[in-house]
Structures are given as structure tokens and as C-alpha cells.
């Protein structure tokens, strides 16, 4: 799986309330509507800046807080192709894989706002085109890549009738 897009940078401990505020989270199950408010409390214009395929690039513990799947779903429906962070909160990480949103863990210090990135999920390589630098990350497990390729756990399960670890 290969992904391409620009980097939008955020800091450490971006919690699920910042990703999609509780003001909207409980009001609707329409993810396209929720997506318009993604990261709003950190950057009110964020949704408008996104071009299809862009990445969120962050520091440590991205997605900490609640277990609500609305958080990764809002990001996915905002047309973000993946999240690159130093580390992820585990429920968020799990939810992201389960809904088919790629998540990559590596040192993100050398990625700057607006950098053009190309990601190879199987190889575990991020190529920073703007800086002509390669960054390695621990490739996702085969099982997780299968889920991502199938578009999430629900579709994966429907296809095989088992988790197919």
C-alpha cells in the first residue's frame, strides 16, 4: 500500500476531544458532517486546508482519551490518508486500523508543515520528497495491512468470515 500527500503538523498528547469536540460528537452519526469539524479546537481552518490524501503528523500519544471511534472516523472522512506520529494511544491505534485508516510510528521531528510525503506501508518507509530524506518506521504487521487493504475490520471479516490472523 502506497500513500501520497502533504504533512499537517500537530504536537504531543492530541486527545480525542481535540480531534472531534464533544460538541459535535454526540449529535450525529453522519461522519461527513463530523469531518468538517476535525481538529477544530487546535486549528479552526484545518478542514479547509486538507487536500485529499494529506497526512496528519504529530508527536507522542496521538489520540489519547476516549475510545470513541468518531475520532479516527472524522479524520478518515476528512480525506486524510494516514497519521504519522511518535506514538499513539492504543485504543485510537486499534480503532484507526479497524476503520481502515493507516497509522505509522516513527520520529516525526524531521517532517515539517507542508512537506510532501510518500509512504510505503509494507516496506515501512516514509520518503520526504521536500527534504529528499527517507525515514524508516516499523512496518505494520501483515494482519493489520490485510485489514487496511480490505478497508477495515468489518469488510475484512465479511470477506473471510474470520479475523484471519
Amino acid at each position: 500500500m502506497k500513500l501520497k500527500g502533504r504533512a499537517h503538523k500537530f504536537g504531543n498528547d492530541v486527545n480525542t476531544d481535540y480531534i472531534i469536540s464533544g460538541r459535535y460528537k454526540f449529535k450525529t452519526l453522519d461522519m461527513r458532517e463530523l469531518a468538517k469539524h476535525v481538529m477544530e479546537d487546535l486549528d479552526p481552518n484545518f478542514y479547509k486546508k486538507i487536500k485529499k490524501g494529506d497526512f496528519i503528523v504529530a508527536g507522542r500519544n496521538f489520540g489519547c482519551g476516549s475510545s470513541r471511534e468518531q475520532a479516527p472516523l472524522a479524520i478518515k472522512y476528512a480525506k486524510i490518508s494516514g497519521i504519522i506520529a511518535k506514538s499513539f494511544a492504543r485504543i485510537f491505534y486499534r480503532n484507526a486500523i479497524n476503520i481502515g485508516l493507516p497509522v505509522m510510528e516513527c520520529n516525526t521531528d524531521r517532517i515539517k508543515e507542508g512537506d510532501e510525503l510518500e509512504v510505503d506501508l509494507e516496506e515501512g518507509i516514509i520518503y520526504n520528497k521536500s527534504r529528499k530524506k527517507k525515514i524508516k518506521f516499523k512496518p505494520l504487521s501483515r494482519f493489520m495491512i490485510e485489514i487496511l487493504k480490505d478497508g477495515g475490520l468489518a469488510a475484512h471479516f465479511k470477506k473471510y468470515g474470520t479475523f484471519k490472523l
Binding site: L29, S67, E69, S87, A154
Partner: protein
């Protein structure tokens, strides 16, 4: 090499002799929980799958506790999705207003979860049940849907950090203070992806209520689960609560509540061991805007408050209400402070009435609400205005958590909360 209690429980549910940290497993789930925020999405996924019936009507538990009694039409709509689904699937464990409690206080009380179980819940504080010696982890709605369909889920076996709490607890110090102190020490990502195993004589001396509040906040250090090996206190609790429920149990309760007593082997593999001397720990307060931003209450300084909340899945249990009442008895809070007390379950509420605790709270000038998660997540029943400060016995103090993005939340145990309500600023009960 021996196994940790967590590895043993996971291995048993994966049908294996042993599992290693980092290994992916498919494991059977004993209980799967959803609430009025997370279950609607799971039910939608369940419907999409084309499957007609949940894998076991006695193992899927739905508790509408976040926005109930419903605060507005959209939240009523969400709760209705649960109610309709529970009826349609003839779920054994569905708790509506009047029987409802905050899920993580309710499930142990009702004997639905017990030692040795593997529990998942679409709520981050599902880690609470680790206090019973169960493996219990928060997941998302898709995971919940997968379990509703199959009764199984994939897990990555976590590494375990062992925490050893030595010595005797100081007066006014509870499980809440131990966990706040620990999160202050290791940080909000200090146990990321890992299990926190709480051990030592100070933990053994804790009541079940205190153990629940400790395991409840493992997620605030990023942990997958928190766990305390079952002992005499656990077993007494499990026996009492499981037997209460047994007459109604169908199929026999042994199916869901194992009441086995798994423990870690002496040569179990821990990725880290941390030791604390409890004689040096005083009641803790977490300052805005992270649960790791902790200080001993004596070092917090003068923080005037607008509101105090005593309740939540962390601290809305009997022990919490009793200690708050002990501090508040015969006293009145100042005019410009709001004290909101929320017993975590209907049974706790009733017991508080019988023991005369509600009378103490009302006479002190507090309000007592029916069980709800309400204010903890800025939902209802005590949302903060711009610039307001609250001290709460809840678990998270992120920016805007209890209302306006420019409001502030401080976290503490119920004794500190009660004393602070009386003083109108953060205060130690010994100073009342």
C-alpha cells in the same frame, strides 16, 4: 519463564498454553459492553454485516449511562437505538433509567464480571474491571460489533509493568491518590500499550472500591489494562455480588463469572518494575489540563472553586460517598459554590438514602443526582462556563472536558473534594 496474570488470562481465552508479549491472538470474550455513545455505531456495523443475532444474548451488555436521563432529542435518539436493539435481541443485561448505573460501577455490582474473565467495552474506562483480577480493555465500536457477531476479538499481548506499593497508607489517602501519584510519576503515556499490574501490601490493604478507582485510571497513563491479582477481598466481593445475582442467572453464572483466582508466577516477565513508598504519599490533586499534572494537596496553593463534583466511574461508589458524608456532616457549603453528588448506581443511591448520606449532602447545600456520567465529559448535570474552575473526583481534566474550552478541571479523591466544597477552594479535610 513464568507468566503474568494477564498472559495467563489471555492464553486461557485463546486456547493456548502460553502467550508472549507482542504476539497477536484471537481470544474468546466473556463480556462485551457498549453505552449510548459507542453502541449506536457498533449496532450500525452489526446490521451491515447481515448477521441477525448476537453471538450470546447473556454476554452483550448495553448501558445507556452517558446522556441519560436523556438531555435532549439527539441523545434520546441514541439511547433509543440501544433500547430497541436490546429488545430485539432479548439481551439479558440491559439497564434503563431507574435501574441504570454508571457502567463500570454497575457491571461488578451486578456480578456480570468477575476474576479471570476477559472483558471488552467500547469505553476507555473498561480497564476498571482489572480490579477483580480480570483482563479488561477499552476498544472501539467496530471491535464491539465484531464481538457481538463472533464472540471473539484480536489482541496484541501487552507487556506488563509491575508497580509495587510498599508501606501503610496515610490518613485520607485512597486508591485514587495512588493512581494519581503513579500517573504523575510515569506520565500520560508512561504505560502506553502495556498492562499496569498493581501489587504490594498497600494495594492488598485497599477495599474493592479503592481498587476499582485505581484500575479505572490505568488508561490515563495510556495503559491497555490495569490489574490486581485476586485475593481474599476480591473473592469476598465476587461471592457476595455473584451470589446476589445467581438466582436469576440463566445459563448458570459460572459461564460468565469464573471466580477463578489467577496470579502472576514469581518468575513472570515484567518489562519494568517500579516501587513506591506509600508513607511518603499524601492526597494528590491533578491540575489542569492533564491527569499527570499532579501535586500533593498541600502544595496546590489557593485555588478558588466554582463547582465540586463527587461521582463518576472513578469515585461514585459507596466508600466514596461515605467519606464525603463524613467530611460534610453537619456543615454547609458557601453560597457561591455548587456541589454535585452523583451516586454511581441505583443500588448505591438507595444505600446512600438508607444510611442517611443523602440527607447530609442535601443539608450541606449539595444536590444529589440520579446515576449518570453527565458532567465528567461536559455532557449535562453540571457543565462549566467560561473561566470557571471545578474540582472533580472524575478521571480526566483535558481542556474543555467539563464544558467551556476556557474552564478548568482539577482531579482529587472524594474527601478532598468534600473539604474543598466546604472551603470554596482546594483544601485538605484535616483543615476543616
Amino acid at each position: 519463564m513464568g507468566l503474568t496474570i494477564t498472559e495467563k488470562i489471555l492464553a486461557a481465552h485463546a486456547g493456548k498454553k502460553r502467550v508472549e508479549p507482542g504476539e497477536f491472538i484471537e481470544a474468546k470474550v466473556d463480556i462485551a459492553l457498549g453505552n449510548d455513545i459507542t453502541a449506536p455505531l457498533a449496532i450500525e456495523e452489526f446490521r451491515k454485516s447481515g448477521v441477525k443475532k448476537v453471538f450470546d444474548r447473556s454476554k452483550v451488555v448495553l448501558v445507556p449511562d452517558h446522556f441519560t436521563p436523556n438531555k435532549d432529542a439527539p441523545s434520546a435518539q441514541q439511547a433509543k437505538i440501544l433500547r430497541d436493539f436490546a429488545k430485539e435481541q432479548n439481551l439479558k443485561y440491559y439497564f434503563d433509567v431507574g435501574r441504570m448505573g454508571i457502567e463500570h460501577a454497575l457491571l461488578p455490582e451486578q456480578g456480570i464480571v468477575g476474576p479471570g474473565d476477559l472483558i471488552i467495552g467500547a469505553d476507555s474506562h473498561t480497564c476498571t474491571y482489572g480490579a477483580l483480577g480480570a483482563f479488561s480493555a477499552g476498544v472501539g465500536s467496530t471491535d464491539l460489533a465484531a464481538v457481538m457477531i463472533t464472540g471473539k476479538l484480536w489482541f496484541k499481548v501487552p507487556e506488563t509493568i509491575r508497580f509495587i506499593y510498599r508501606g501503610k497508607l496515610n490518613k485520607w489517602v485512597s486508591g485514587k491518590d495512588l493512581i494519581l501519584y503513579t500517573i504523575g510519576d510515569i506520565g500520560v503515556d508512561g504505560a502506553l500499550y502495556k498492562t499496569m499490574e498493581f501489587t504490594g501490601e498497600a494495594v492488598s490493604s485497599l477495599s474493592m472500591d479503592s481498587r476499582f478507582s485505581m484500575c479505572n485510571m490505568a488508561i490515563e497513563a495510556g495503559a491497555k489494562s490495569g490489574i490486581i491479582a485476586p485475593d481474599k477481598i476480591t473473592l469476598e466481593y465476587a461471592k457476595k455480588h455473584c451470589s446476589l445475582f445467581q438466582p436469576k442467572a440463566d445459563p448458570p453464572l459460572a459461564d460468565t463469572v469464573h471466580c477463578s483466582l489467577p496470579t502472576s508466577d514469581p518468575d513472570a516477565n515484567y518489562c519494568e518494575i517500579r516501587k513506591y513508598d506509600c508513607s511518603k504519599i499524601e492526597p494528590q490533586v491533578a491540575l489542569p489540563h492533564l491527569p499527570s499534572n499532579t501535586k500533593p494537596v498541600s502544595e496546590v496553593g489557593n485555588i478558588p472553586l466554582d463547582q465540586v463534583v463527587i461521582g463518576s466511574c472513578t469515585n461514585g461508589r459507596m466508600e466514596d460517598l461515605r467519606i464525603a458524608a463524613k467530611v460534610l456532616k453537619g456543615r454547609k457549603i458557601p453560597s457561591y459554590i455548587r456541589l454535585i453528588i452523583i451516586p454511581a448506581t441505583q443500588n448505591i443511591y438507595l444505600q446512600a438514602v438508607k444510611e442517611g448520606l443523602t440527607e447530609i449532602f442535601l443539608e450541606a447545600g449539595g444536590v444529589v443526582s440520579t446515576p449518570t456520567c453527565g458532567p465528567c465529559l461536559g455532557g449535562h448535570m453540571g457543565v462549566l462556563a467560561e473561566g470557571e474552575k471545578a474540582l472533580a473526583t472524575t478521571n480526566r481534566n483535558f481542556k474543555g472536558r467539563m464544558g467551556h474550552p476556557k474552564s478548568e478541571v482539577y482531579l482529587s479523591n472524594p474527601a478532598i473534594a468534600a473539604a474543598s466544597a466546604l472551603k470554596g477552594r482546594i483544601a485538605h479535610p484535616a483543615k476543616i
